[in-house]
Symmetry: C2
Subunit: 269 residues, 2 copies
């Protein structure tokens, strides 16, 4: 029998080799393949979130196929999302950040592949409006999307998280009235944010939308206010934009024809 | 030997099966591959076109990789675009339609892969507003994008084309004041159109945007008015939307913060 074992193994290996060669090389999973680094991928539209479309529709694992840098929230508005360096964190009502399971569903999020395209030497601002005014002067054009990354030690960061909601879901204006607010001084970490152009009103949070994650990845939230002292800002210009609309949940029946821009500004800033 | 052949084949087949199972199934190729049929791909935003961003930025050949059904215009606003059954036609100031070269650049267009998802048995309307009111009742939700295809003989179609513009480009309101208008009675052909939800104002022509191509593919244009008599309408629900922003031309410097919705309605309808 010993004589026949070797040919059997050789034949089997040959068949295995042919089988492997015959199957085309596998691209990264899913229809989108490698993510387009110049594309901002968004789940749902802000006017739907504003009206309580908190049902998760895209799993975190699917979201993460479209980038490594982003923000958003989770099913039932259960906390703030920060995606940094390829890990998706959830910030709960205690301000603590934890990596999340890839099966958790997302009702609203923005994600892209962060590229260090433009480094603005250093911006300073005592509060949110001074900081965004400084960022305004740094943008090459107001008509593109930008991913914005600021690593540093911040004189102050005021952030919030939101409590998990129960159905029937209230609008976001009501949900954030129960938010938890955190104020940190001389905190080291990363601002993870986006700028969206004015013509995206209704779809996106226009202007600046910033979240925060501490350098030890232990805490964070949606930025309500911050001070920045001579800190470089890295911009990633993003000229392509994809919106994925919820095909389930309350989205289909909502009246999305109104102008919610004032409510959005109130809730987000 | 006969005794050992069967086990060898069994072993080889088992190894082959394991090898095939171990390699994940191949998904359609990356960003350049098969288009997502449920995605509406748009070049630029309507508020930029309204302000004269007529410089072509995407070649027709690239546009056609994202679908077989669409509408738009060409570099320097040189005519109306109709994409039907995978061919891209240009309608000039004489109302004549001709297939275009794939190298021609496009400043604004919408394209998708048309799928016959919902057939509305028959709609009627004596004019554009009656027709769109009838379409309104046919949409499963006002919050998605739809590609709309109507094949039939129409009691009347009033269409237009626009003249090629010279730099510095005037706004679209001025350019269309020199449009050519065509009125056909009992004309057989296809309405190629889209419905875009209200929250896309500034990005897209909200509501209905219809172009026309005759059944012999000899004439067409942007539909200004039409009558429809008991004709089925085919809808393709499109829950994903990609916008590609111009990285060259006048787009970067434009002020896109204003509300141009009334001008857009005037120009498009």
């Amino acid at each position: 029998m010993k004589v026949t074992v070797v040919p059997v193994i050789v034949a089997a290996l040959a068949i295995l080799a042919v089988a492997l060669l015959a199957v085309p090389q596998v691209t990264p999973p899913g229809p989108a393949g490698t993510p387009d680094p110049d594309l901002l991928y968004q789940v749902s539209v802000i006017d739907a979130l504003m009206q309580g479309a908190y049902d998760g529709v895209v799993p975190v694992g699917e979201l993460m196929r479209h980038g490594d840098f982003g923000l958003g929230t989770f099913d039932a508005l259960d906390g703030e999302m920060v995606v940094l360096d390829g890990t998706c964190y959830r910030v709960g009502m205690d301000g603590a950040a934890h990596p999340v399971n890839s099966s958790i569903l997302v009702p609203y999020a923005d994600i892209t592949t962060f590229e260090r395209e433009t480094v603005v030497p250093g911006i300073s601002g005592m509060n949110m409006s001074q900081v965004t005014a400084a960022l305004d002067t740094a943008l090459p054009s107001e008509n593109f999307f930008y991913a914005i990354r600021i690593d540093g030690t911040f004189p102050s960061v005021k952030a919030r998280s939101v409590p998990r909601q129960e159905k029937p879901y209230p609008p976001l204006t009501e949900a954030v009235s129960h938010q938890a607010v955190f104020l940190w001084h001389n905190v080291t970490g990363t601002v993870v944010g986006f700028y969206s152009p004015p013509y995206t009103e209704g779809i996106d949070v226009t202007g600046y939308h910033l979240h925060f994650l501490s350098s030890d990845r232990s805490m964070g939230g949606h930025v309500l206010d911050l001070a920045v002292e001579d800190t470089p800002v890295v911009l990633d210009i993003t000229p392509r934009f994809t919106v994925v609309l919820p095909e389930s949940g309350d989205f289909t029946e909502m009246d999305l024809s109104g102008d919610l821009s004032q409510d959005t500004a109130l809730v987000e800033k």
